[in-house]
């Protein structure tokens, strides 16, 4: 409906620059940022790490720390200038009218205080409300944020609830004062996708109900598309493009925005939507920004003027503003990738190949020590964390298996057990026809050489005092895969294939960026030309533009050496493009496994269906079925009997008696003709009738009511 009343924006930033004083000078972390947020609007701010998103948020609250300050510009909140406001006035604004939610809920929670006490303090101290009344209010607010068992949560300490629940407590607390402005800095980044989906729904509800203005900061383009009305794209301290989500996603104008859109998977109807095109290079640090346009070193359209003159912000009649000399002239759909960022072509070889890895009902249980006296004396019943249950599949040589699931579902344990870092509890594993059921100390050198791993965090496995050359050369030396005098040459060749170049040979890990370190990590894993490489979320800690480059590289090398690969990821979007097979895990159990193209279309396992529905897709024209899982993942110590998913399964109602059988009996494997297996009591015929989760919104659905 057309609104006749025009209320002034809640927050207006005008030409804001923020500087941090550092030794020997200062850096301008943020420059020329202008935007405004209206009441009831969620304004997204998106960009890669270090681009200045959080700095903008802190500037609003004057939380810049001892060395930071707003150097230029104006920040107006509800008509009042915030720059320079201090003391009592600032404290009152922060307490009553502006609230902030951070990525890590523990930053806002006091670990040694009951949640109820810290929540109600907001009301008793600020508003003089009596304790009883305050507690009642808190419980109501917890219920508003869909906290299960709210009254009970009030009596618990922060560590006694899950991360998703902690974040809900923080959001509920922030809302107790009904703030006019809510600043959220990556509030769901640390959460699992299914939990994130619930929190994002909640944020959308709250904005409508309380008419709150929300500044929503994230690096995730999918999340922005789901929650925001407008979005500003930040790059190297500047807001390079801004407009409505529809405009920006459909027709991005700035070359950086265009690049960002191409390096994130879209999970659309066809596999092509998952091809990733990286942006070459990386974000420059604030003290080393190029003159002229900050994006010029990475831009496909750079011309002379871009090196000399800083582009002004150009505003289009649509309301989109862009900081580029050639804004409006660059057509994203005419773009084609240059050779250096071209993703490798995926050769789908359908001829059957012999399995290189065979898992036969592999189990990994960890013993847990109880804390009762009986347990300590060893008289209690031994309890186990059932981290991996009956993993049973073959991995054909030269193929890639993507393993997907939320944190704690056993993905990492599965590959650690295969590589021998963990002792198998039961079952068998065979690699190149050699039994590798036992842990690594019992394995021969030839097995170790052929079985390598890439870790999520390269730092944890890199000796900080070894140079890059030494790190990569070590496995070559150890396994004598390369004659001693050829090692240097071989390392350099590998570095080059990692696009790092010879000049990296003598560098130390601390002189590398996160993306470069991970390249070294991959080079080292590939140094012994292993037959099987196990990758544990190797790119999830990296920025999206770097992620895409690394994934493509990994893939290229895998094809070149005909390596077999297992690749772990926490959502289904990343693995789609390059996996031959995908496995979905829940609570230690593989729930579904099959050819990649089969996983993303019906029949689905009910859990995979929920996962697909939860992933935020960076495409506002994609429509997703709305499936939200209730409750939290149960403990792996006493996993539910029968089907482990039965406590949360939205589909069990399709079975007789509301799926009573799921609570008591293990489901059977349902198998389709193409070798797609689903672990569920629901028969295939019924699973086949599910609608696809992701569809395209019909064009021009702007209906008049």
């Amino acid at each position: 409906m057309n609104n006749l009343k025009k209320a002034p924006p809640v927050l207006i930033l005008e030409d804001v620059a923020v500087a941090y004083k550092i030794r020997g000078g200062e850096i301008e972390a943020v420059q020329n940022v202008s935007f405004e947020i209206n009441r009831g609007e969620t304004h997204g701010i998106v960009g890669e790490s270090g681009c200045g998103k959080s700095t903008v948020a802190w500037a609003v609250l004057n939380f810049l720390g001892a060395n930071g300050y707003v150097k230029r510009g104006s920040i107006k909140f509800q008509g009042q200038e915030l720059v320079g406001v201090t003391g009592e006035e600032l404290r009152r604004l922060r307490g009553d009218q502006i609230a902030m939610v951070y990525q890590d809920p523990m930053q806002a929670l006091n670990p040694s205080m009951r949640l109820g006490d810290q929540m109600s303090e907001v009301l008793t101290v600020h508003r003089d409300m009596d304790k009883k009344e305050a507690e009642k209010r808190c419980i109501e607010m917890l219920e508003r944020v869909y906290m299960p068992d709210a009254a009970n949560v009030m009596n618990r300490y922060p560590h006694q609830i899950s991360g998703g629940q902690q974040q809900r407590v923080v959001i509920a607390t922030a809302l107790l004062n009904n703030p006019a402005l809510l600043i959220m800095d990556e509030p769901t980044t640390a959460l699992d996708v299914t939990v994130e989906a619930v929190v994002l729904d909640l944020i959308a509800d709250l904005r409508r109900e309380f008419d709150t203005a929300i500044m929503y900061i994230t690096h995730n383009l999918g999340v922005v598309a789901r929650v925001s009305t407008r979005v500003g794209v930040m790059y190297a301290g500047e807001m390079v493009e801004r407009g409505t989500v529809e405009d920006i996603y459909k027709d991005p104008q700035h070359p950086y925005t265009q690049g960002l859109m191409r390096c994130v998977p879209k999970l659309g109807a066809d596999k092509a939507s998952s091809i990733l095109y990286p942006i070459r290079g990386r974000v420059p640090p604030p003290n080393n920004r190029p003159v002229g346009c900050v994006f010029s070193p990475r831009c496909d359209y750079v011309r002379e003027i871009c090196h000399n003159k800083r582009p002004e912000l150009l505003e289009f009649s649509s309301g989109v503003s862009v900081r580029c000399h050639f804004a409006g002239e660059i057509e994203a759909d005419k773009w084609s990738p240059s050779d250096d960022i071209l993703p490798p072509e995926i050769i789908t070889d359908t001829s059957p190949r012999e399995p290189i890895l065979k898992l036969d009902n592999l189990k990994k249980y960890y013993e847990v020590q109880g804390s009762s006296l009986k347990d300590i004396l060893g008289l209690g019943e031994q309890r186990y964390v059932k981290a991996v249950e009956n993993a049973d599949f073959d991995l054909p040589r030269g193929t890639t298996l993507g393993v997907v699931g939320e944190s704690g579902c056993g993905k990492s344990t599965l590959i650690k057990t295969i590589i021998g870092l963990e002792q198998t509890t039961e079952g068998h594993a065979e690699f190149m026809e050699i039994d590798i059921t036992d842990e690594i100390s019992t394995r021969g050198e030839d097995v170790i050489k052929e079985l390598q791993m890439v870790f999520q965090n390269p730092d944890s496995t890199m000796n900080p005092s070894y140079t890059v050359g030494q790190q990569i050369g070590r496995p070559m030396k150890r396994f004598s895969t390369v004659p001693k005098d050829e090692i240097r040459g071989e390392v350099i060749k590998l570095l080059e294939s990692m696009r790092l170049g010879e000049n990296y040979y003598d560098r130390l890990p601390r002189q590398l960026s996160g993306g470069e370190k991970q390249r070294v990590g991959i080079a080292r894993a590939l140094a012994s030309h292993p037959n099987l490489v196990l990758c544990d979320e190797p790119v999830s800690a990296l920025d999206v533009s770097v992620q895409a480059a690394l994934l493509n590289l990994l893939l290229e090398l895998q094809q070149e050496y005909d390596t077999t690969m297992m690749f772990i990821a926490h959502d289904l979007s990343v693995v789609r493009f390059f996996s031959d097979q995908v496995a979905v895990m829940y609570l230690g159990q593989i729930m579904e496994i099959g050819p990649a193209n089969a996983i993303y279309a019906p029949p689905y396992h009910p859990y995979s269906e929920a996962l697909l529905s939860a992933v935020p897709i960076p495409d506002p024209s994609a429509e997703q079925k709305h499936i939200r899982l209730e409750g939290t993942v149960p403990s792996a110590i006493n996993p539910p009997d029968g089907c482990r998913f039965h406590t949360r399964c939205p589909r069990r109602e399709l079975l007789p008696d509301g799926g009573a059988i799921c609570e008591t009996e293990m489901p059977p494997w349902r198998e389709t003709a193409e070798g797609h297996r689903i672990f569920c009591h629901i028969p295939l015929e019924t699973l086949n009738t599910f609608d696809p989760v992701i569809t395209q919104k019909p064009e021009g659905s702007n209906h008049v009511s």
Binding site: L4, P8, V10, Q78, R92, D96, R127, D211, A213
Partner: protein
């Protein structure tokens, strides 16, 4: 249609210690005429309106220019705001028309809305006018007709029946005693679906009613 659905949430507010000149600036810049004055926890202490910020010229008559500027810069909101029993507020749960009645009776242009004892919003005469405009269908395209009918049960049903039988929709409207014609009632309707001629032709058929305006 309750106050809480139509009020402006998160109104701009100021503290009692704010300078009057700053309050004046905030009102001008944001094009508003009322500012709730709040203490800690958004507890309502008073209300500032444009008139309240007027300094009567008689107060200034005997002062020289330096004294005037000092006087003005010393003025704080807390000394000029509406407070105590003059401060009239409402709750979000009352109807729009009841709020309008209060404003008319008290001859005021604004009501701070309290939720749990703290400021939850504000509703002003502008909101009321916007609401009126919406009720009358000002924001939608359509044919606006005024029909004069006997003030009897069943008359409006005749109109809605005709409209429904053509598959048209009513997008706004209202009713009022016919001015200077006792026993009659004027109904205004914003109709979508048919054009002016079609609407008139259809409604003309109703016996005992008269179309007195159409646009």
């Amino acid at each position: 249609m309750l106050v809480k659905d139509y009020m402006t949430r998160h109104p701009i507010m100021i503290s009692p210690e704010t300078d009057a000149s700053e309050a004046q600036n905030i009102m001008t810049e944001n094009n508003i005429r009322h500012l709730p004055v709040v203490g800690d926890g958004k507890r309502l202490l008073g209300l500032i309106t444009r008139e309240k910020l007027h300094v009567p010229p008689s107060d200034l008559g005997s002062l020289n220019v330096w004294e005037i500027s000092r006087l003005l810069s010393d003025l704080k909101v807390k000394g000029m705001m509406v407070k105590g029993k003059d401060l009239i507020t409402t709750e979000g749960d009352i109807t729009i028309e009841d709020a309008a009645k209060i404003m008319l009776e008290e001859k005021i242009g604004c009501l701070p809305v309290l939720e749990d004892g703290v400021v939850g919003g504000i509703i002003t005469d502008t909101d009321m006018l916007a609401h009126l405009a919406h009720l009358m269908g000002a924001t939608v395209q359509g044919v606006r007709v005024t029909i004069r009918m006997p003030d009897k049960v069943g008359e409006s049903a005749k109109v809605t029946d005709v409209i429904a039988s053509h598959g048209w929709g009513i997008y706004g409207g209202g009713g009022h005693d016919a001015p200077k014609q006792p026993g009659y009632w004027d109904a205004v309707l914003k109709i979508q679906g048919g054009d002016k001629e079609e609407v008139v032709a259809a409604l003309e058929q109703i016996e005992g009613q008269e179309i007195i305006d159409v646009r």
